[in-house]
Amino acid sequence: MTNIVEVQGLQKKFGKVQALKDVTFSVAAGEVVGFIGPNGAGKSTTIRILLGIIKRDAGNAKIFGKDVWKDSLEIHQRVSYVPGDVTLWGNLTGGEIIDLFMKLHGGGDQKKRDELIRRFELDPKKKAKGYSKGNRQKVGLIAALSVDSDLYIFDEPTSGLDPLMEQVFQEEVEKIKDSGKSILLSSHILSEVERLADKIVIIRQGKIVETGTLDELRHLTRSTITLATEGDVAEIATVNGVYDFKQKGNQATFAADHQHINAILVKATELGVKKLEAVPPTLEDLFMRHYKG
């Protein structure tokens, strides 16, 4: 697989603040990469460097094998971008702005545009100053999704959208994904990333702290197990790899290390299993582990 986006050792300083210290990751062809991290971690800065809006201080960043700063125009012909805070010209209507963005990008599909306007339930004849945050975001999304690109960069694209519209967005992204396009999706809505992303990149304080598929990341952490036994469930607490043990009658809930799962199950069968539920860690658990710890 060839890499569409290739970022290596990216650094950026704003005045005295080192916004990016070491950012390295890649997006392969046809891959959806979830880019997550708390506010101020450097997500938007990284994306702005990728778009050639700001210049990196050190490191390498390439899209389609081309330098993001020097060859930005060639790159932009095949890139669609939606910022997290779409701001619009108050005296233009949503429809006008969508048309303008499509024209300036080139290669837009009028039919697709009208369909998206319908699906996102946007009133294109309203002046942008009358739009809510969610509606402004829709304008950005419709413009980006109506043109044909090879790489889609979304920076918290669904902020302000209601769950129904979030659903529409996710369906549209799946369509793009199915047609083999690459997507870099920065988001706070972890269920969205969980659903769409093949790979996850976690950034913290300007550094990439974790990269991998959701499965790979899950392995690094613990599952939550609920267990009820005939014998005294308290004995489980003594097994290696059991954490946060909580008991209620003969039922217990605890976190279990994946490499010790066998020992735990052996002990459980000794006690006679009445009920067993194992929940893999959610992305939220992963996220919290990285940010709190």
Binding site: I53, T87, N91, E96, K127, I153
Partner: protein
């Protein structure tokens, strides 16, 4: 009924707490502007100044701008009469405009912002907010009127009587209340707050234009104009208090209408439907140029109209130039040069003034690109194949175009009115005016170049270019008055340019300044291409 206004007093107190700084600035600013020019007028009135002014202001063009005076002969024209004649109409207009912005800001704007929804969820009556706003406005204008009167009286000028001072202040206060009641009505009718502000200002503009016509044709007709109930009170001369009663009745009636209208509408909606915009963009919008023109069209048109009016205003003086200039030592010193006609020497100076004004527009156009950038509106455009060069040079192009048209309109406005005013006594042709105007084109380009340079290398300093413009304007304006050293004068770009038609055109200077300006633009471009875009960071 009482329920409808429930707790307006709570809101009123809240408004005062929220607005007290604004109110201070409003009362001090407008108050000092309205009353503080007495010493300057005393200066003008010296020698034969009153006579000169009286003659100048008899010109129909001037009457249509500043209004009439009840005085019939120059001998009766006093300082007080002149002060009211020249100041009252404009101060009344300002008072109305500020009040309209304030009233709509507290009513419909807060509905549009969704603040009102929260407020109304408490035990607050439907009309409580409007009533609180209205009472606050009355409160502000009573203070403003008294403040103006006290400032006027404090100058202890002979013809500025105590009664006239109070009437002068009260007229400006009444103007504000009339504006408030108009705004209160449009706030109920219009679909959005910006439409409410726009239509209220439009009504004022229309009233101003109508009175310009009736003032010239028959002043009695202006008495039917709400705007007429302010400046036609003639403070310091005839003191027509009765007109203020008309204003008061009008304000009360209009406010009652506003409250009735408010009773029948939904929160956040007016009586007129929201105008539907275009579902698809026009072809002319679909380019960087189309976009940049579209978002600046209003501002550019506004300034261009202002240039014509400014030009025409100065042009109308040419008829009585002799009287005007001879009337006053200071004025004479500023505008006179030996061995050329006063008209020509006046043209040289006034063209510098006009073209300095014209320079504001290209600076604003170039600075606008940075405003767009920092407000994040271009983020999605940066990610398309639009180049930074396209954005930069299109902005410069629009700036250049508006400079050329601006000079054309300013010089044309000045020239054509001047020619008309001088009738067959003219010593100049219209071409002389255009030549004098375009002679200053390099200075306009230079300011554009400075703004472009700032945009490329230090975009936050774009506003400093205005300061330099103001600085170099002042140096040039008072050049003849103060004995300034050569090197100081030379720090202003306009000083390098000869004053046509009294001085000869200088090709070398013209080309050198133009080339310097182009260099600034190119250097600016180099910076713009390589710097980080600043997006609210």
């Amino acid at each position: 009924m009482k329920e409808e206004f429930a707790r307006w007093d709570t809101l009123f107190v809240q408004f005062l707490k929220r607005d007290w700084k604004k109110i201070m600035v409003w009362v001090l600013g407008l108050g000092l502007f309205s009353a503080g020019f007495v010493p300057a007028f005393e200066e003008i009135a010296k020698d034969q100044g009153l006579l000169g002014m009286f003659e100048t202001l008899q010109n129909p063009a001037m009457i249509s701008m500043v209004g009439p005076t009840p005085i019939e002969t120059a001998a009766d024209y006093t300082l007080g009469a002149m002060y009211a004649h020249e100041m009252l109409l404009f101060c009344s207009l300002f008072s109305m405009i500020i009040t309209i912005l304030h009233v709509v800001g507290h009513t419909r704007k807060e509905e549009d912002l969704g603040l009102m929804e929260l407020v109304r969820s408490f035990q607050i009556g439907r009309h409580a907010n409007s009533l609180a706003t209205f009472v606050e406005t009355v409160f502000i204008h009573v203070i403003l009127a008294l403040f103006i009167a006290v400032v006027l009286i404090s100058f202890k000028a002979d013809t500025i009587s105590v009664e006239g001072s109070f009437l002068f202040g009260a007229s400006i206060g009444m103007a504000g209340l009339i504006g408030a009641s108009i705004a209160l009505v449009t706030a109920q009718i219009m679909p959005t707050s910006s439409a409410a502000t726009g239509s209220a200002l439009g009504v004022i503009g229309l009233l101003y234009l109508v009175r310009a016509g009736t003032d010239v044709l028959n002043v009695d007709l202006s008495m039917f104009n709400p705007l007429g109930w302010t400046y036609l009170t003639y403070p310091f001369t005839e003191n027509h208090w009765i007109l203020l009663v008309c204003g008061l009745v009008f304000t009360v009636l209009l406010s009652i209408i506003a409250f009735v209208l408010e009773g029948g509408r939904d929160l956040g909606a007016g009586y007129l439907p929201q105008k539907e915009g275009r579902g698809n963009a026009k072809k002319s919008l679909l380019s960087v140029r189309g976009l940049l023109i579209k978002i600046q069209k209003g501002v550019i048109m506004g300034w261009l109209i202002a240039f014509v009016i400014m030009g025409a205003a100065y042009g109308s003086i040419y008829g009585d130039m002799q009287t005007f200039l001879e009337s006053n030592e200071i004025v004479k010193q500023m505008f006179s040069h030996s061995d050329v006609s006063i008209e020509e020497s006046f043209t040289g100076t006034i063209m510098m003034v006009l073209i300095s004004l014209v320079s504001i527009l290209p600076i604003a156009t170039v600075n606008k690109l940075f405003t767009e950038e920092s407000s994040l509106r271009l983020s999605q455009l940066f990610a398309t194949k639009v180049t930074r060069g396209q954005l930069y040079w299109t902005s410069i192009g629009i700036a250049f175009f508006s400079s050329v048209v601006g000079i054309l309109l300013a010089a044309g406005g000045l020239g054509s009115t001047a020619m008309a005013a001088m009738e067959d006594r003219s010593v100049m042709s219209i071409m002389d005016f255009f030549a004098a105007g375009y002679n200053f084109l390099p200075s306009v380009l230079f300011f554009t170049g400075l703004a472009a340079f700032a945009l490329g290398w230090a975009p936050k300093l774009g506003k400093v270019v205005y300061l330099y413009l103001g600085y170099s304007f002042i140096l040039n304006y008072f050049e003849g008055l103060l004995d300034l050293p050569e090197w100081l004068l030379n720090t202003a770009i306009q000083s390098w340019i000869p004053r046509m038609p009294i001085e000869d055109f200088d090709v070398r200077t013209f080309i050198i300044i133009t080339l310097m300006s182009i260099a600034l633009m190119v250097i600016g471009y180099v910076g713009y291409r390589r710097r980080d875009m600043i997006e609210g960071i």
